[in-house]
Amino acid sequence: MKYYKDYDLEDFLQDDSFRRWVIGEADATEGLWEEIVRLYPDKKVIMQQARELITTWREHAAIVTDQQLEDQVQRILHTTQAGVEAPARRVVWRKWLSAAAVVTLVAGLGGAFWWKSEQTGNGTGHRQAYVPESSKALQEVVNTTGTAMKVGLPDGSKVSLAPAGRISYAADFVHDKKREVFLSGEAFFDVTKDPQNPFFVYANGLVTRVLGTSFLVKATDTNVEVLVRSGRVSVLPLKDIENPTDRNTELLLTPNQQAIFSVKDNVVSKSITNMPLELIKPDAEAGFVFENQPVSKVFSALEKVYGIPIVYDAAVMEKCSLRVELSNEPFFTKLDIITQTLGAAYRVSDGQVVISSEGCR
């Protein structure tokens, strides 16, 4: 019993006998833990924590009712006794079934699918697998007017559809834990946050996935552009979804970043939007006014407000300081002013700004 006085939370949790005591299982060490509480009153709180963790963890388990258990047992026995389809093949079979269902759906709906007539080849076959499997009707919205059109989606998300843009989605919007929209043309999405049911936009071979955010998708015959205003989205060529081993093509975009997808090459690249917006207001008092400040301060202020990473060699630019007064200029104008003052240069690479400088004296 000597070492119990040095027991910490981990030790209690890892002690088999303690765990059995907590869940009320009989144990050879009957009375031991009550004794320890008496001997080492300072251990009481830690023991209480350990007990809480174990009991809560057990309570958090998924519940299977007797009826559910029985149903599942019968289902398994039915399969094995009847000697039906081997399970390894069952999954594949199901895939075939859904493919068949999709083919029927496409045939049945005919022209209701915008992409059927407008788009040839690229990604269509892949997209079929992502069309909701049940033959629920698809809603289609086409903007035939000359101005942007507001569309409300069933989940509360808002879409601003540019002229000549089309979107379609299942009437039964949340399906298989996904919210899915098919887009042709240009649309700005303001997506309601719902982490349990991610939101997908399929546009000419590119899949954009979001939780809750606002962003613009612009799909033309040759390119798809995705521009992020707020939140996070990831983009991935539709073709690569079919090939799960190759995950490197998925790109995460943060605000003011932009992905450009080339339909021909099936490649996504990352950049910065032409006109980055301020994500947060600069400090009310100081704003972008810097009075002989080290350049690191200026860059970090810019990073913070626009959310765009700025990469530079801190050692080389250590002696660079700046007196500059900036206000409402666009992001890239600000960068021009700063780099020109310093005699430095910048380029945009992979969604970041890279500063090159020979240092200051």
Partner: protein, 190 residues
């Protein structure tokens, strides 16, 4: 564990009654374990169904085991990972360090009693902030009462790696716990 070996052999000989007992006896443990990383009940039921059906089909070719539970947990785990891979080739947002709302998830939906709901929600929040792998190892250790060796077998990692992962998960848990401790103590003591 002698009993396990005996049961396993009878199942391999095609004893349907033993097989049925095995399904009945192991189903809940498998479901509970699986629910730690697959939240969709239908998918989970399908995977467990496939697991048992395939065991039955291949029973003549199976190796002997004297630890049925860990054996089944490991088989289910492999199946579930394949299933997740197949249906969701996208990187989970959590992996991009997106902070999911801790209110979400199966943990919270299953909390029913109102009396100590607050306490449970706080602990649930802490549990939720663990990575799936950390949750998994805590489950195997404190729910299934598996030994380090058995966990090593299920996860296909070395025993030191199990010890390491477990202590990591626990340290994280304790640190997170500390931040909610003040309010918690009031409930426990009060």
């Amino acid at each position: 564990m002698e009993q396990d070996l005996e049961r396993w052999k009878r199942f391999k000989d095609g004893d349907a009654a033993v097989f049925e007992d095995m399904i009945r006896g192991e189903f809940r443990a498998l479901f509970e374990y699986g629910s730690r990383f697959v939240h969709d009940r239908d998918t989970l039921n399908d995977c467990i169904h496939d697991l048992f059906a395939s065991l039955w089909d291949r029973r003549h070719f199976l190796v002997d085991t004297d630890k049925i539970r860990p054996y089944l947990l490991k088989s289910l785990r492999n199946r579930l990972l394949k299933e997740i891979e197949r249906t969701n080739p996208l990187t989970p947002f959590e992996a991009w360090h997106e902070n999911l709302d801790a209110e979400e998830g199966i943990e919270n939906r299953l909390i029913s009693t109102e009396t100590d709901e607050r306490r449970k929600r706080q602990i649930g929040t802490v549990l939720h902030s663990l990575t799936p792998r950390q949750r998994e190892i805590i489950h195997l250790k404190f729910f299934e009462n598996l030994s380090h060796e058995q966990i090593a077998g299920v996860l296909d990692i070395s025993r030191p790696a199990v010890a390491n992962l477990l202590s990591q998960a626990l340290r994280l848990f304790r640190d997170k716990w500390q931040t909610i401790l003040p309010s918690l103590l009031m409930i426990l003591i009060g």
